[in-house]
Amino acid sequence: MKVAYFPGCTLKNKAKQLDDYAKKAAEALGVTLEEIEEWQCCGGVFTTACDEVATKLSSVRDLVAAKNKEQPLVTVCSACHNVIKQTNHAMQTNKEFADKVNRYMGEEPYSGETQVYHYLELLRDVVGFDAVKEKVVNKLSGKKIAAYYGCLLLRPNGVMKMDDPENPTIMEDFIRAIGADAVVYANRNECCGGYIAMESPDLAKKKSNAVIENAKAAGAEMIITACPLCKYNLIKNGADIPVVYFTELLAEALGVKEDTNE
């Protein structure tokens, strides 16, 4: 099976591992991630104001590219996923906005036809966690892993519709599928501080610490995330347990981690 793939800026740069492992692991599971050509940056955050059109054009172009390939669009980075899914939702539901956007697009109008998956959704809904479990060669047995969702994967729930926004299970199910123990803690859907790290590093520190402490108190030995910014914030603000991308663990479990370096 082939799907359109949108990596995003950070995955080509500071978060190369997230990208590489995602592709390798997917290949091992029988899914080919085909990077869409000349993709453009999603913009990092979705602007909720309905009169913001220009800032959303790049996401729409990516969605249109996937539509032209007649494939669903898969993203890995939580932020890209959030922006692209929200943009797609706006194209589906806000006619006025869609009309404005389509005037920039030329060609045939786009109205949100592309199916957008997060990599985790791809694992759960297309591949299936049971199929993942079967393909695991290195069971990560006994490892206590805490999933960190952050805010962007789950919210706003009305648009993202990924999981229960207050008590999600998709990443825990993923952890169990690769043979490890999932640690459940309440702060897993609280914000790490996000882009505030730029201006108010102290606030980001406070927020990240609350996440780390809560995970540790629940017995976590490792935290996994899907977002480069979350990872940056958690590590920078004193995480004394490893914080890794979930794709890295997946690649390790599937036995395709080697020869992925720089």
Partner: protein
């Protein structure tokens, strides 16, 4: 040809202010069939009615048109007037020239013109009126109460007190309902069990009351005064009449790890159980999903220890059919699921509980024998946070919770907070509220006492997130009045969950053809004037099935419903509505179209012999309307392809005549 009298009412200046009443009565004088026309200041007054009676006699009137207020207001009055004058009461038609004319139009010529047209339509209709006689039906002098909580218990006791037999159907193994689970009751703090259990005993000992516990209503047919109800008695695998409730079986049952519903799963019960010590009827019940004997035939211990020999593993569900004259719905409420509100971590920590669970934790007969201990570790909590309005007052677009106020939470939370501070003065108690709503006798005084005398911290604001960490619950909340975000390390968090109607209410409403609102609460016939009656005749409402209610309100509504039932059962015969469907047997071709659309099953078919012109007989299938069942909606009249079906009082010809009169 009818001889019609037209009576135009001024209604003081209500009508006469915008309608030239003289012009109306003059104009209608020339309508076909009208032999007399007049106007008067107040037609509904004694003098006005006398004027009508006088005119009927003087002019030999056969029909009456009153141009006045809405027929919803005075149609019944003028029908009685007609009857007093010796006319059939259904020879009266009202032209609504007040609500639908003088009150909505300002200009006299326009109002007058419209009043004349409305009057003409009424005259056209009366020309085709025929005398109607309402049918009568007998009343079965027995009432059914569905639900055995405090609402059902009170209704049943009151009806039985008036001398009528009553059956209570309760789906749980015992009556008592939610009130049996409560600890104390606001605002007087009497113990719920102390005031409820004597009533339960009264029910058990009352010769007029039968209790069908562990049972449900599966079918309702018939109509007011004559309901045919099927009750399913679920197999409890214990012979009810033999079991003495000694409890030996419960003690010996090896299967002891079944979550105890009565304590909301906070402790366990055995597979054979009696819900609580004061249960009525006090007989054991075997849970078929937990009993080894019933599941795989391996055990049978309870049968061996039962001295009375009451255990019967082969018992089957039993169906009972009974006739009733009236049905009271008292199906009650439940707290909503907290699944969509997991920011409060209800599914993530045992120490986040609902208020009903808190009741069990403080109840002397509860899982902790009345000691307030945390469910997780059995330690005494020192900081307790109560959260109000969890799932109540939510906007529909938030896609979770209920739009209404659950009404009882403010008061029971004040009670919980007060009792906690009273018993454990070393405990810090916070209550987060949006508004404190205390509109009841002695309610606000009670709440103020909680604050002023018992030192409960009431904080205007809401809790945003509860994070279980270690053995604490980190509560993040807002204090709107001091404009601060609070962080409290709590030991126990109590959620005032919204309440919703019991899930059994919706299918029951369908069986009863009783209407419900969008929240599945039963609707009353009139929100102010007929609050305990359902719009479906013979069905009455008691307690929280009609809307959130506290105990005093429930009991008074239960009594009110009982008095309505008694009023109905005291009658020997019921007068029906004569405006019902009837089929012209010569035109009917027996196609069944009418039967299919009838919501009441009032139409049946019979084979009838017709004598043909050539003296042969022909047997044809024709529709017959049961006048006691038909409610007169008219759905069948439109469905009938041959035009055989028509409606008394609203005949096709009459409505066409009105259309013609208006469109002239």
């Amino acid at each position: 040809m009818q001889r019609i009298g037209v009576f135009v009412c001024w209604c003081g200046s209500n009508i006469a202010g915008t309608v030239d009443v003289q012009a109306v009565s003059d104009a209608l004088k020339n309508e076909p069939g009208v032999v007399f026309s007049t106007n008067y200041q107040y037609m509904c007054s004694q003098a006005g009615q006398d004027m009508i009676i006088q005119a009927v006699k003087e002019h030999n009137l056969t029909g009456i048109v009153v141009c006045s207020c809405s027929p919803r207001m005075h149609e019944a009055t003028f029908r009685r007037t007609a009857q007093a004058a010796g006319l059939n009461p259904y020879m009266v038609e009202i032209a609504n020239i007040r609500e639908q004319c003088s009150w909505v139009h300002k200009d006299i010529p326009i109002g007058t013109e419209k009043a004349i047209i409305l009057g003409k339509a009424a005259v056209a209709k009366v020309n085709l009126n025929t005398p109607l006689t309402p049918g009568e039906s007998p009343v079965t002098k027995r009432a059914l109460v569905i639900g055995g909580g405090i609402a059902g218990i009170q209704t049943a006791l009151d009806i039985a007190d008036a001398g009528f037999p009553v059956d209570i159907v309760e789906k749980k193994p015992t009556i008592g309902g939610k009130m049996a689970q409560l600890d104390k009751t606001f605002p007087t703090l009497d113990c719920a069990a102390c005031i409820l259990t004597p009533k339960m005993v009264d029910v058990a000992q009352n010769g007029k009351i039968r209790i069908f516990s562990y049972s449900e209503v599966t079918d309702v047919k018939g109509f007011v005064g004559n309901f045919d109800v099927t009750i399913k008695k679920n197999a409890r695998y214990v012979k009810e009449d033999i079991c003495t409730g000694c409890g030996a079986c419960v003690e010996k049952c090896p299967m002891k790890k079944v979550p105890n519903e009565f304590n909301l799963g906070m402790d366990n019960r055995s597979a054979i159980y009696i819900p609580f010590a004061q249960a009525v009827p006090k007989v054991a019940t075997i849970d078929p999903n937990a009993c080894n004997m019933l599941k795989n035939g391996k055990c049978g211990l309870c049968a061996r220890v039962c001295a009375a020999g009451a255990i019967d593993y082969t018992q089957k569900d039993e169906y009972i059919e009974e006739k009733y004259g009236a049905i009271v719905v008292a199906t009650g409420f439940n707290p909503i699921s907290m699944d969509k509100f997991d920011e409060f971590a209800y599914n993530q920590s045992k120490d986040v509980i609902t208020s009903l669970e808190f009741e069990r934790l403080t109840n002397a007969a509860g899982p902790t024998a009345g000691k307030l201990l945390r469910p997780s570790d059995g330690k005494h909590p020192h900081t307790i946070v109560f959260v109000q309005c969890v799932g109540s007052r939510c906007d529909a677009c938030a896609e979770k919770g209920k739009e209404y106020c659950s009404k009882i939470c403010c008061m029971y939370t004040a009670k919980h907070a007060m009792l906690t501070r009273d018993k454990y003065p070393d405990t810090d108690v916070y209550v987060f509220y949006i508004d404190v709503r205390t509109p009841g006798k002695n309610f606000d005084e009670f709440y103020r006492r909680a604050v002023e005398e018992y030192g409960v911290h009431y904080v205007k604001g809401m809790v945003g997130k509860v994070v279980p960490e270690g053995d604490k619950l980190k509560v993040q909340a807002s204090d709107l009045l001091s404009n601060k975000q609070l962080h409290i390390d709590a030991d126990l968090v109590v959620l005032a969950a919204a309440i919703e109607p019991d899930k059994s209410a919706r299918p029951l409403a369908t069986m009863l053809t009783a209407s419900m609102d969008t929240n599945d609460f039963f609707t009353e016939a009139h929100p102010k004037l007929r609050p305990v009656e359902s719009p479906t005749a013979g069905v009455f409402l008691s307690g929280a099935c009609q809307g959130p209610k506290d105990i005093p309100e429930t009991v008074s509504q239960a009594g009110a419903a009982a008095s309505k039932v008694i009023g109905l059962l005291a009658k020997d015969k019921l007068t029906g509505n004569p405006c019902i469907a009837h089929s012209n047997e010569l035109m009917c071709n027996g196609c069944s179209s009418c039967e299919r659309v009838c919501p009441y099953g009032a139409i049946t078919y019979e084979d009838k012999e017709f004598r043909m012109p050539d003296r042969t007989t022909l047997v044809r299938r024709i529709a017959v309307v049961n006048p006691a069942v038909c409610q007169g909606c008219g759905a069948c009249t439109v469905a009938c392809p041959s035009g055989a079906m028509d409606l008394h009082g609203f005949a096709s010809g009459q409505i066409m005549a009105e259309v013609d009169a208006i469109c002239k």
